[in-house]
């Protein structure tokens, strides 16, 4: 029987490996250097990383000792990973809809990758208490009031719906 901890390591390495590859390819897109396949690599690797992300999250939750979120690192990990996943899905859908791969598109892709790599780095700090990202204030969690989150959810849903309608039109 493989423990959740081992599965988490496997899924995390899959996720981070693909996100890192995507980040390098997006950097090449930004610099307009390298092979023409950089765009395909950036987006397919991002998709692969996104597919592996839920597995990493669920195995991570099972592997964490105790119940619930009892550490600010875990809370920040959740916020960062969902933000990163949102940006990544936005990037992929935008590309699917025929969006240009301009400097802003590539930059958003790199921001998404950077957030996911930071999330993984925080996981290392949580389990081993060691990190290179010592300068990031990970002990502080910024939580919106529930009403603000609900407004943002409505806003996000409206934006997604609007873009879908525009595209269909």
């Amino acid at each position: 029987m493989i423990s959740s901890g081992t599965l988490h390591v496997i899924s995390t390495e899959l996720t981070i490996g693909m996100f890192a590859l995507s980040g390098v390819a997006f950097l090449l897109c930004l610099l307009k250097k390298g092979p023409q396949s950089r765009e395909a690599v950036a987006h397919w690797a991002l998709l692969g990383g996104l597919i592996a992300t839920p597995l990493a999250i669920f195995t991570g939750l099972n592997a964490a000792p105790g119940e619930g979120i009892t550490n600010p690192l875990l809370a920040n990990k959740m916020l960062l990973s969902t933000t990163s996943a949102g940006l990544a899905i936005g990037i992929l859908i935008r590309r699917k809809l025929g969006g240009d791969i301009d400097s802003r598109h590539a930059s958003i892709g790199m921001i998404s990758v950077a957030m996911m790599l930071t999330t993984a780095g925080m996981g290392g700090e949580y389990s081993r208490n060691e990190t290179l990202l010592y300068f990031i204030p990970k002990e502080t969690v910024l939580i919106f009031p529930v009403w603000a989150s609900i407004i943002l959810i409505i806003l996000g849903t409206v934006m997604l719906g609007k873009s879908a309608i525009e595209h269909r039109g």
Binding site: T83, D100, I143, L155, M159
Partner: protein, 373 residues
């Protein structure tokens, strides 16, 4: 350049240290002795610890009742962090060796948890003996049981993970005498409390007429009254441990429980998880929406800017300067929506218009620099 990079890489690889242990420990846990690669690499690479290991048992151990044992670790030189991992086990095989496998229950470990493996940072040395207390519940069936004390630690010079295990210690678990005043079999003491909070503990007893609680803070022992089976321990001002035990009197012989340890600690970090989950969903949707809402280039869509515009302008100037070197003449007509002007001989072989829009300027730049013939 490649040679320099390879040299730097080689130096970095050679500068790494080789270690078979996890110097910071793995944290307290319920775990077998054969933790293998998780903390001390393969057991075949471990050294043998010189530690003297012993377990001190109470005179009488009754089936299903709480008891206290003392584990001692002496004559051991450890690494600079003075940490020793200590485990209570039931065999030395490295498998199926958890105390729970033969019915033991860890009620309180030396660190205030409920684990069979704990990491102790103390004054370990070849001249010193470190003793720790464990509260266990004995197996519910009388009989003979085996216990072992195992340790894992580093070495003074580092690099080698040391492992050791005590000799077999046999434990006789007796039938509970009739009418013996005792704590109820399913009663479990509290191990942890928050600072600044009084702690009320409810005792559940059997065959008991009266109970008295003794509270030990430091070396001082005081009595606490028990009303309706409940007693209150005063709030702690600082993090630390208080110990208490109960003296039970009834028809049978008077019984004294083991010392129970109550650790006061700072209140744990808490968060409104509903707000956190909602915010996560909100950020996910908002970020996805914001990115997608950046409208894609399409027919009839007038963009406010385009990345290639300034580059195209630059190229026109550059092209006039390198006309003699580059055998490419440009048509005057520009493309309709994006990309640089198409060369007079048309698109490069195998290129689509979309590729030209994205990569055309880069292609022309390379031509201008002579990178493509």
């Amino acid at each position: 350049m490649r040679t320099k990079a390879a040299t730097i890489l080689l130096l970095m690889i050679l500068s790494s240290t080789i270690s078979t242990a996890n110097p910071g420990g793995e944290g307290d846990a319920v775990q077998s002795r054969d933790c293998a690669g998780s903390c001390h690499a393969s057991s075949s690479t471990n050294g043998v610890s010189s530690a003297n290991l012993s377990i001190e048992l109470p005179d009488e151990i009754y089936a299903g009742l709480l008891m206290e044992i003392q584990t001692s670790v002496g004559n051991v030189d450890v690494s600079s962090n003075s940490m020793v991992g200590m485990a209570i086990l039931i065999n030395s095989d490295g498998a199926k060796d958890l105390p729970a496998n033969s019915g033991w229950e860890i009620i309180t470990d030396p660190n205030g948890g409920m684990n069979n493996y704990v990491e102790i940072t103390g004054s370990f040395s070849s001249q010193n003996v470190v003793t720790k207390s464990w509260t266990l519940r004995a197996p519910s069936n009388p009989g003979m049981y085996d216990l072992f004390l195992a340790v894992q630690h580093g070495s003074p010079n580092g690099g080698v993970a040391m492992s050791g295990i005590s000799s077999l210690i046999q434990v006789e678990v007796s039938e509970v005498p009739e009418n013996l005043p005792q704590l109820a079999p399913d009663w479990t003491p509290m191990n942890i409390r928050n600072l600044g909070e009084e702690t009320t503990i409810k005792l559940e007893t059997l065959n008991t007429d009266s109970a008295t609680v003794e509270l030990k803070i430091g070396a001082e022992i005081s009595e606490i009254s028990v009303d309706d089976g409940e007693f209150t321990i005063p709030a702690a001002v600082n993090p630390g441990v208080v110990e208490w035990r109960v003296v039970l009197e009834g028809e049978g012989p008077t019984q004294t429980s083991p010392w129970f340890r109550l650790t006061a600690q700072e209140p744990g970090w808490e968060i409104d998880e509903t707000a956190l989950y909602l915010q996560s969903i909100a950020l996910f949707l908002l970020c996805a929406g914001l990115v997608i809402l950046r409208r894609p280039a399409g027919d009839g869509y007038q963009k406010n800017y385009h990345d290639t515009d300034p580059l195209s302008t630059g190229f026109e100037v550059e092209a006039t300067q390198v006309t003699d070197q580059v055998p490419v003449a440009l048509t005057q007509e520009s493309t309709t929506s994006a990309g640089p002007p198409i060369p007079s001989e048309g698109l490069p072989a195998g290129w689509t218009m979309e590729q030209w829009q994205y990569y055309g300027q880069e292609h022309l730049d390379k031509l201008a620099r002579g990178e493509i013939l």
